[in-house]
Amino acid sequence: IIFYIFSTLYFQLSFSPLVPQENAGQFFSSGHTNNWAVLVCTSRFWFNYRHVANTLSVYRSVKRLGIPDSHIVLMLADDMACNHRNPKPATVFSHKNMELNVYGDDVEVDYRGYEVTVENFLRVLTGRLPPSTPRSKRLLSDDRSNILIYLTGHGGNGFLKFQDSEEISNVELADAFEQMWQKRRYNELLFIIDTCQGASMYERFYSPNLMALASSQVGEDSLSHQPDLAIGVHLMDRYTFYLLEFLEDIHPSSKANMNDLFKVCPKSQCVSTPGHRTDLFLRDPGSALITDFFGSVRKVEITMETINLTEPIQQRQKETYSYVDQLPVSEIIHQKPKQKDWHPPDGFILGLWTLILLVFFKTYGMKHLKHIF
């Protein structure tokens, strides 16, 4: 352990000329060992292109700062890149004149289309998924994970609309986070929401270690940034646009902290007033680095053990195989119809026959019974 501390101190010294004790304190201050991100776009239809672009730009920043695809759950409610209305297929742009393609060449979407529902979102957060769900669709966080949750779409005072057909309320979201806390599914959680009246969504939180940011206060609308005339829709929302510009300057070893994040997009740029909530966060926001949530801590263990690989033992088959005839016409014509398994008669049929028998015996009297038995 001492060797480990010394090696990390040496690393820190090579990066910045600070006092070793201060560096060590900074290194061990956060307490998380892995990072996760849940990025959700809840809107469908082509005119909501900007919500998909919002989510993809946060995805791009988070991947650039080190979180791997296996630790990102990306939920996009509609497909904009390969939409038939997209004049440049397989691209989603965030800046006009098609400067930056946030879709990229290496994207992995975990939940897409009709799968993005309130139920699936809450199941991902709380971990109550059916057993056959693949790993890429699960949030496998533990009590030392820092999670970033980003939601965007159309919302109102106290709710967020999913795909034009259902809503999630702020009470449900707060309860989901409390379930996560009770099951020790996070160490610290950063919640960012970019919708109209977004601040209402974090009003009801009551679990510890939560920090929340919203793009607008209650009663205000979040506005979109700029349209692109070639694509024909608005490309991004203002808050996420300036958030993306801010994150583009962050690199994995940056020391920028949360107070800088709160200053992103003041009223002059955003028209709405972004809000934040830090009373549930146990640390001082100034001591929480941006890379604590947007970047990734990789725990690498180097081992010098060798492992012997055993070779598989194979058995040879002695029978001869052959390919099957693809359309054996004579076989198909003479195929006997499948013998259906005999099932006992349905309840309806049984009831019907009982009724018929009862009526028969009622009409003709019980003395006929002895003729039958």
Partner: protein, 585 residues
């Protein structure tokens, strides 16, 4: 235990000050187990075929062969070229054959001819399980969930409402003795979108990834800006050699794409690798045993109408789709192919091309009007001048289109054509779709029409998708047939053949097996107006308010008589009289 002793003798002559000759002999002894390590082999190829309409068809095939046995309790743990995620899927779910394809666009048979590997629009998955599986439906559900995670697609929407068990179609394409159709499951998702997020995990399954070899050309911005894009994964056991005593597992990853003539801008009949893929080739995949590009030059072997540069002298002939075609071959494992610039950018120029009329093609459409009933028409065209051949039609219709099978008619050339085999499984609401399989003999040079009437069902309001006014999709029909071939086909399956001609096993010389997919249908179901709840609340509240208010007034209002107020002069006079103490007027 066999002991292989390899002896290397190296003689090096070193001239040093004392002019001595040194001889080094190194002896290495390798000890191996009773059976050599299972061999695996990777081949990649690209076939480019210019089409009659000026479009160009490119088909990539990547094949990994592995002589191992996933079954019989062997736990395979050392993977080299074969991807581990698929190997684990095969052994965990006891899969014998797996075919999955993702397609964007519809293959236009009349304009483009026949594809090397057909696929329907959307996602299609069909699987043969081993006969050791006891609960096929449960295993199928788990398999679809796992595949949806591997390919980033919504395959978890495959459930009993869109899965069918064909009774005669989709015979196994690999070797094996089991043909009990209880172990076969087939499902399509016609609504499934294909985009970069499906291409990314597909590329990661290749041994060289997208870093070297032909996969370098697979850039999503160009591939999805095309008329047709289809990527597929096929896993099946094949014979290792002509004796066929041992099997090896074959994984084929195929990608078919048709680029539109007019999309890049200029309309000239000139294509190059850079124009198609915005990349050129610099090397073959180092793990590949063969890496080749084939260009179809059949119509013009002399090179008058057709020009390919850089020129190559390698030619090859192959029997594909019942026809003998000639190809120019570029071997990427030879360094000379790349020339002095170390990169290969093929340029293809042609003036015009003959159209070969496909022998079999099919169409499907919905007839009728209104939102209550309709009719599905399937047309199958046999363009052969004098031969008739049998086709097997497989139709899987969702339960919310209630088919009236008593109205099923099959007519060819105006006369009734009775199918020699019909298998129909009726649907069960919210449990099972309809399954209709028919073996029909198509007369030469004719159109066969299959019609069936249906009624549309009203769904429960929670069963509608978030965008119900788009419509509901009905999956493509599958038409499998043995089409007579123009030239004699090669039935020796293990001779060295290019990959694109050796996919479907060939049993007889005079015909070849082909599958044609029709268009999917888009049907509108009677959709309630989902904005109505708000309107209903407003209307109801207004009615209640007006009705209750009127009733309340009628019951509780009482009338009193009141004198009208007097004029101004009279009011002043009344004030003066009050002051005088006299009663008012």
């Amino acid at each position: 235990v066999c002991v292989r002793v390899c002896v290397r003798v190296c003689v090096c002559a070193c001239v040093c000050v004392c002019a001595c000759v040194c001889v080094c002999v190194c002896v290495c002894v390798c000890v191996c187990s009773s059976v050599p390590q299972p061999k695996d082999d990777f081949q990649e190829e690209l076939v480019i075929r210019p089409l009659h309409s000026g479009d160009i068809y490119a088909s990539f095939q990547f094949r990994t062969l592995w002589e191992t046995d996933f079954m019989r309790g062997n736990k395979v743990s050392h993977y080299r070229l074969f991807p581990k995620s698929l190997g684990q899927v095969i052994s965990k779910f006891s899969v014998r054959e797996l075919h999955i394809s993702f397609t964007q666009g519809y293959w236009r048979t009349m304009q483009w001819g026949q594809p090397f590997l057909p696929s329907p629009p959307g996602a299609e998955l069909w699987v043969w399980f081993q006969d050791s599986v006891t609960d096929v439906d449960g295993t199928w559900k788990e398999l679809t969930n796992v595949l949806s995670g591997i390919f980033c697609a919504s395959l978890n929407f495959i459930d009993s409402t869109n899965t069918v068990q064909p009774s005669a179609s989709f015979k196994p394409l690999g070797i094996g003795n089991v043909t009990d159709h209880r172990f076969l499951r087939y499902a399509t998702l016609p609504r499934e979108i294909v985009c970069t997020e499906n291409l990314t995990p597909w590329k990661k399954l290749l041994p060289c990834g997208s870093k070297a070899g032909l996969a370098v050309l697979l850039k999503s911005e160009k591939l999805f800006h095309s008329s047709f894009h289809s990527q597929a994964v096929h896993i099946r056991p094949v014979c290792q050699d002509w004796q066929c005593k041992t099997t090896s597992w074959e994984l084929r990853q195929t990608l078919n794409v048709v680029f539109d003539l007019h999309t890049p801008g200029q309309g000239k009949l000139e294509w190059s690798l850079f124009k198609m893929f915005s990349r050129t080739l610099t090397e073959a995949c180092p793990l590949a045993s063969s890496s080749k590009i084939y260009i179809d030059i059949t119509d013009d072997p002399q090179g008058e109408q057709f020009e390919v540069s850089p020129a190559t002298h390698l030619l090859s002939q192959a029997m594909v789709l019942g026809d003998r075609r000639t190809f120019s071959v570029y071997d990427l494992t030879q360094q000379i192919t790349f020339g002095t610039v170390r990169s290969l950018n093929l340029l293809i120029r042609w003036k015009s091309r003959d159209m070969l009329r496909p022998l079999l093609h099919a169409e499907r459409y919905v007839a009728g009007y209104g939102l209550q009933t309709g009719e599905i028409h399937t047309l199958m065209y046999n363009n052969h001048p004098y031969r008739s051949f049998p086709v097997l039609l497989l139709d899987s219709v969702p339960w919310y289109l209630r088919l009236y099978i008593h109205t099923l008619t099959v007519t060819s050339k105006g006369k009734d054509n009775k199918p020699s085999y019909i298998h129909y499984q009726p649907s069960k609401d919210r449990v099972r779709p309809h399954l209709l399989e028919m073996l029909v003999q198509l007369p030469p040079n004719s159109v066969t029409e299959v019609t069936v009437q249906f009624e549309r069902a009203l769904l429960k309001w929670t069963e509608y998708t978030p965008d119900p006014n788009h419509g509901f999709y009905v999956g493509s029909s599958v038409i499998s047939s043995l089409v007579p071939s123009i030239v004699a086909m090669d039935t020796n399956s293990t001779r060295e053949q290019p990959l694109f001609s050796s996919f479907f096993p060939c049993k007889e010389e005079s015909s070849y097996f082909m599958r044609v997919y029709t268009e999917p249908l888009l049907v509108n179901l009677p959709t309630p107006d989902f904005s109505m709840p708000y309107n209903v609340i407003c209307l109801t509240c207004t009615v209640v308010a007006v009705g209750y208010g009127s009733l309340y007034n009628l019951l509780t209002r009482s009338f009193q008589i009141e004198e009208p107020s007097p004029g101004l002069a009279k009011r002043i006079a009344n004030i003066i009289r009050k002051m005088r103490g006299v009663p008012p007027l």
